[in-house]
Amino acid sequence: MTTLTTTATTTLVTRVRDRATATPNAVAMRHKRLGVWQEITWATYWDRIQTVGHALLALGIEPGDRVGVQSENRPEWLILDLATVAARGVTVGLYPTNPEAEVRYLLTHSGARIHLAEDQEQLDKALAAADDCPELERIVYLESRGIKGRYDDPRLLFWEDLVRIGAEHRAAHPDLLDTRVAAAEPDDIVTLVYTSGTTGPPKGAMLSVGNVEFAAETLMSGEGAVSPPASESDLVLSYLPLCHVAERFFTTWFSAFGGVQVNFAESIDTVPQNLHEVQPTLFFAVPRIWEKLLAAVRIKADSASWLKRRWARFWLARADRLGATLVATGGRHTASSRLVYAVGWLLFYRALKDRLGLREVRHATCGAAPIAPEVLTFFMGIGVPMHELYGMTENTAIATRNVDGRIKVGTVGEPYDGIELRIDEESGEILTRHGAVFAGYWRDPEATARTVDPDGWLHTGDVGEWVDGTHVRITDRLKDIIITAGGKNVAPSEIENALKASPYIKEAVVVGDGRKYLTGLIGIELDTVGEWAQQRHISYTTYRDLSERPEVLELVDGIVREVNERFSSVEQLKQFRMLPKELDHEDGELTATQKVKRSAISKTFGDLISSMYGGAA
């Protein structure tokens, strides 16, 4: 054992193994079953990884073979992921929301030999795609409801049976997996992370053992993503799709490298409740979640009884001032703001944060998409230490982050220590170069060559600029920049985020490439606008009906005017139309990460767009 740890490459697996040896009875993760949070210790976790790893060996997984996973976040996801790495295989995560066509593409493209489908829903997608995937040999399922006794495909394998195969193999060849683990090399690919594909089909970024080690060490260093670094006493809530690099970091890798206790949310719908129960100390969320939390506070405070409403308004107004102070000081309290916050904490903020599930949060992080500064300021004001960071799949999420005391709202922070980051003078594109730059796109050397230049610089595709020489501000995606007919360059995401900061607006898509002026497609937030309409006794039936109410149009018009005032006249929306439906992943309008696919939008809603430019509707 000791010889293994000293001579072999450290991987995720050896880190979990060492932790299981050091603190076997500490809690590695919790998942909720029948209303009770069941605890899984490090010893059990490691034991399971070994058994499943042996099962993969028994099924003939060779170094470099791909194993697919399409499941909600749950312990088995992590176990299979780590077991795959132990067998020197490559984990390929699929979004549980990926429809059948995308599942077919991902399974075929990755060439997965074994695929884990969580339940009947996922299994049906996998089976429909399976015949087009010659490399797919086995489909493992976790929930047998609706499957057992009804499906007789020879490729199917129930998880319990997989575990049994592993146990038998482990008894017969106890050392085989250890040998495989010890043979791991820094260049081994551990995972394919498919990009969401806003423009074309998803591309599978290959992340190696070395990438993950470098990234994790950077994140866990003194001034890493979280300071002080994540440790055993930290709790996280795992609820975003694990196939995304951000959640993989905050769940699997934080757990393996920092020993944090991972708590799995029951589903995305129960996140508010699970958050309240778990009260995590580290919390990562995408802008959409932060916006929803903010909207929930506004709505609930407004619909509270008279006294509570007054009380909440008073303290939320103080929070706005506190937030403004913190923005000005980079996140440090002044003497007077500290005093106001201390009183407010006692009388309001503590209870508010408790209800939101953010009471114990010592480091909150926002990333993966641009966020409106108002949202960050709000949470800073109520005492949630918000930090925006920036990274992408191709650099294993390592680029910049905001550091306590030097926070600049509106920027994504400073580059990590020990990495190289520069902004191209000509195009304004952000380039990074460090040990966590990915090994290339899977089966796509052409795209790889386009992304990483011969000097090793990764072209992120994001346009940015330096703020005060230290912080980076992202303008937009390079390919999203709109050039109007007048030749002006406009970054649509700034306008879109300013609009989306309103609790009533869920989607905003700015159009205007090659046109005389900018226009927008706007989708309302059904919950908040519904509530708003109810208070004004406006009756409605469907989403579309509500969207087209004259009162709602007036409401949106007001928000658009307000936002327009903040921008120069070329950046103002001259017209807008309401989206007649909620944008959806299934219909191809959004990616799995809820990013808008602009090309699909302009195709689907082409008539709406042309009507704004005087064309025939």
């Binding site: 009875n25 919790r30 069941q38 605890e39 312990p75 929930e143 129960e277 778990v278 509570k308 309001f348």
Partner: protein, 391 residues
């Protein structure tokens, strides 16, 4: 290649993963992070509850050193009534079986205790058992047997029909109590109640502490014991079965709750509590008459659980205490409202006000707070729990 696994092991996460020697612990500062079913069902599921209840019991235990004897006597009576109210709440509030016959079981308990404890050489039947737990529990057991005999009726009847049948029980009981002079002393005469003694100390005689102080402490201890037992019962499998029967007996039956068995159990336990209540109820007065176990007493118990809160143990205690203190509250009224007289010859007098207040309380609670005093408490608690929002 593999043998298919048993259907039962389908929820994999349920089995091997939690094979651990680690005992689930509470996680500091996170009451919602329940890591074991036992934590969820704990007697005191939050620390605040534990502290509050301990403080309340401590204050109650120290009260006799501060309060006047006449109030202590009322409070002690309230404690005993609370035991009876808990009993009725078990069968009516938890198991949903309306019972108007509670006075009958209280009567059975009072008579049994008097008979067991009575002087063997006296005019009435007596066996001279002075050991308090013996006659108290004996009274409870005899009442429980009566309850078990009546219970089969409840398996056939529901709602109003059951109420009428249990009402009949009160009339049968009154007839027997009136006619069995050997045991009860007969109508209008009555007999001496059981005398509580602990060791050689007669609690009804003033000593280092007064009679009222000693009885107060005795009743408090017994109430705490019976309240804890009842609370434990209702948070167990039995309690959940009771609630299932109450909410919809057919659905409960379909889910596998044996209706007959649990209705029998509810009546038996309820009657046991009533018997214990009856055995102690007249300790302070030392005398009772069989006329007292009438419909009025049954209604009094119903009023207690309605005002206190149906389906709650703490509500039963609150309701019993309020109604026990009602005469005292009424007698304080002339001080605040001079037009109320404390003489029975003038109108309106405190006795009329007391009767009216009793009625008004019932109507007001049913109209405005059907969940009783407990409901008011619950509302206050929810107000702060949901702070700073309203839901």
């Amino acid at each position: 290649m593999t043998t298919p696994t048993d259907e039962k092991t389908t929820s994999f996460s349920g089995h091997q993963l939690e094979e651990t020697t680690r005992r689930p612990r509470r996680i500091w500062g996170r009451p919602g992070l329940v890591t074991a079913y036992a934590q969820d069902m704990a007697f005191f599921d939050t620390r605040a509850k534990l502290v509050a209840v301990c403080a309340l019991v401590a204050i109650a235990a120290l009260m006799p050193l501060q309060l006047e004897d006449d109030i202590l006597k009322l409070l002690a009576t309230g404690f005993v009534l609370a035991i009876g109210a808990i009993g009725l709440n078990l069968v009516t509030g938890y198991a949903g079986q309306v019972s108007l016959g509670h006075a009958f079981f209280v009567g059975v308990g009072a008579v049994t205790a008097a008979v067991l404890n009575g002087d063997p050489d006296g005019r009435r039947l007596g066996y001279g058992i002075t050991f308090l737990p013996a006659w108290m529990l004996g009274a409870g057991l005899v009442a429980a047997v009566c309850g078990a005999i009546v219970a089969p009726l409840a398996t056939r009847l529901r709602g109003l029909y059951l109420a009428i049948v249990t009402l009949g029980l009160v009339f049968i009981g009154q007839y027997i109590f009136a006619e069995w002079r050997e045991g009860t002393g007969g109508r209008g005469v009555g007999r001496d109640a059981a005398v509580p003694t602990l060791g050689d100390v007669d609690l009804t005689v003033n000593g280092a502490y007064t009679e009222e102080q000693k009885l107060y402490w005795l009743m408090l201890v017994i109430l705490v014991i019976f309240a804890v037992l009842a609370r434990n019962l209702v948070r167990s499998k039995v309690g959940r079965a009771f609630a299932a029967v109450r909410d919809r007996d057919i659905a409960a039956g379909v889910m596998g709750v044996q209706l007959g068995r649990y209705k029998l159990l509810a009546f038996t336990i309820s009657s046991f509590y009533a018997g214990v209540c009856g055995s102690l109820l007249y300790a302070a007065d030392g005398h009772f008459s069989p006329d007292e176990f009438n419909l009025g007493m049954s209604v009094l118990f119903i009023a207690m659980i309605l005002i206190g809160g149906a389906g709650t143990i703490s509500g039963s205690i609150m309701g019993a205490m309020l109604l026990a203190l009602l005469p005292r509250i009424a007698s304080e009224l002339p001080g605040f409202f001079p037009f109320i007289s404390d003489r029975s010859t003038e109108h309106p007098n405190i006795f009329e006000v007391e009767t009216a207040l009793y009625g008004v309380l019932i109507i007001a609670f049913l109209l405005f707070e059907p969940r009783g005093l407990y409901g008011i408490w619950h509302r206050i608690r929810t107000y702060w729990k949901s702070f700073p929002f309203s839901y």
